[in-house]
């Protein structure tokens, strides 16, 4: 029955790829979609299907934790085995972050590095049979954008202090110029200035939030497009192989491109997040 479910999912993909409709976007079947086909109506499987992006995100996170625990917990001065690979990654990411942010970037290396590894592995997980790129869903990327936004604001508050942060966000309003005005004029201008401050604060906040959101949209749609491309090519391969009863692996031709784009997308997200952090730091104000 499981084989039937997989076959059904494959035929579904082939059908969607060959004759896509407006409502149905081709998508490669993963373990959870196969389970949902097999156990249709099962509440647990239904719940898993609803949260499949989170499930695959947690799988990637668990994989990263296992590798980190295995090779990074007690590193030896003379590296061996997987520690070599991990050290190369850590050192490269640290150098990358410090090149963007400066020497103060070391403090932010864990955050940027985890962001990069998480997005990279999530992007690549779509290439594994039965898995899915959780970053092909906007809920994941917007969640990441939310974290980046909070982190950047926290860095700014830590750097400037709460008062200066609020002052900066409200456009650094000054009341010196109305000191010489008459009281009625003052009573008129102060509420207007207060309103402008609130509007500026909200605009600044939205402006700050839009930066990572734009990143998340770029990442989400790029990975989604990659997955759709793979699904379409797999579908075409299945459809083309019907005559010979053997699916043609057409999608293998774009796998190298997917590998490159997945890495580039992860790098872009991490790089621009580093730039946002750098802009929040004191030396970033001068650029």
């Amino acid at each position: 029955m499981a084989v039937d479910a997989i076959e059904h999912a494959a035929h579904h993909v082939a059908h969607v790829a060959v004759a896509p409709t407006h409502s149905e976007i081709p998508e490669l079947p993963n373990v959870i979609t196969v389970l949902s086909e097999y156990f249709h109506g099962n509440p647990l499987v239904g719940w898993l299907h609803r949260w499949e992006n989170l499930v695959f995100s947690l799988l990637v996170a668990a994989g990263l934790c296992v590798v980190a625990w295995r090779y990074g917990r007690k590193p030896s001065v003379i590296p061996r085995g997987g520690q070599n690979v991990l050290e190369v990654l850590v050192e490269s990411i640290d150098a990358f972050v410090q090149r963007v942010i400066g020497p103060a970037g070391r403090e932010h290396t864990p955050f940027i590095g985890t962001l990069f590894l998480y997005i990279w592995m999530s992007n690549l997980s779509g290439l594994l049979p039965g898995c899915k790129s959780s970053t092909a869903n906007l809920n994941t990327t917007v969640g990441l954008a939310l974290v980046v936004f909070c982190y950047v604001q926290w860095v700014r508050v830590k750097t400037l202090g709460v008062i200066k942060y609020l002052d900066h966000m409200a456009g650094s309003p000054r009341f010196d110029d109305i000191a010489e005005l008459s009281l009625p004029l003052k009573l008129l201008i102060i509420p207007i200035k207060g309103f402008v401050m609130i509007v500026l604060f909200l605009l600044e906040l939205v402006g700050e939030f839009v930066k990572p959101i734009s990143l998340s949209l770029r990442l989400g749609f790029n990975v989604f497009a990659e997955d759709v491309l793979l699904a379409v090519l797999v579908g075409l391969g299945i459809a083309a192989g019907v005559m010979i009863h053997l699916p043609l692996p057409i999608q293998l031709f774009v796998v190298p491109l997917v590998l490159i784009f997945s890495t580039v997308q992860a790098l872009v997200f991490s790089l621009l997040s580093s730039v946002y952090i750098a802009l929040m730091l004191p030396q970033g104000e001068h650029h």
């Binding site: 976007i25 590193p75 850590v90 985890t114 906007l138 749609f221």
Partner: protein, 175 residues
């Protein structure tokens, strides 16, 4: 609406929280230990490089000192060799002069000896001639003969004198 555009606040927050947890875990388990270890290794390598540079500098200094000392030793050796050569020449000249003086002295002594021997021989010869003359005169006086007889006497004496010489020369030729 395509599924990609269906935003779900619960899912967004779940993703955000799971990522924050991942950052916290990886920060503690991997990033901090690995970065600390990398810093430690970098410091150690820099320290070792510094030590190597210092050792190189010391080695270069030692080589320089050694070269200087070697040059000094060579100079000293050359000076000593030159001094020895000069001393040797001086000694050779001195010895030559000594030898020359000794030779001259020996020659002088030999000349003196020869002269002395010559003088002695002359005296002996004179004595012998005088004795022979006296002998001849004695014989002449003893006989008191005529001139022919005198002449005969003198010839006899002369023959007597020549006979031993002829005998000596015969003996030499026989030998």
């Amino acid at each position: 609406m395509p599924p990609i555009l269906q935003l779900d606040l619960q899912q967004i927050l779940s993703q955000a929280i799971s990522f924050i947890l991942l950052v916290i875990i990886l920060r503690k388990v991997a990033w901090r230990p690995l970065l600390a270890m990398l810093d430690q290794r970098r410091a150690r390598i820099e320290d070792e490089l510094r030590q190597i540079a210092q050792s190189k500098s010391e080695l270069a200094q030692l080589q320089n000192d050694y070269a200087k000392r070697l040059a000094k030793i060579e100079d000293e050796a050359r000076t000593k060799i030159q001094q020895a050569m000069l001393e040797g020449k001086r000694l050779a000249i001195e010895l030559q002069e000594q030898a020359r003086a000794q030779g001259y002295e020996i020659m002088t002594k030999a000349k003196d000896t020869v002269e002395l021997e010559l003088a002695k021989a002359k005296v002996t010869l004179r004595d012998q001639v005088a004795a022979m003359t006296m002998d001849a005169v004695e014989r002449m006086l003893r006989r008191k003969l005529d001139a022919t007889a005198d002449r005969q006497l003198v010839d006899d004496v002369l023959k007597e004198l020549e006979e031993p010489r002829a005998r000596t020369s015969d003996a030499r030729s026989d030998r």
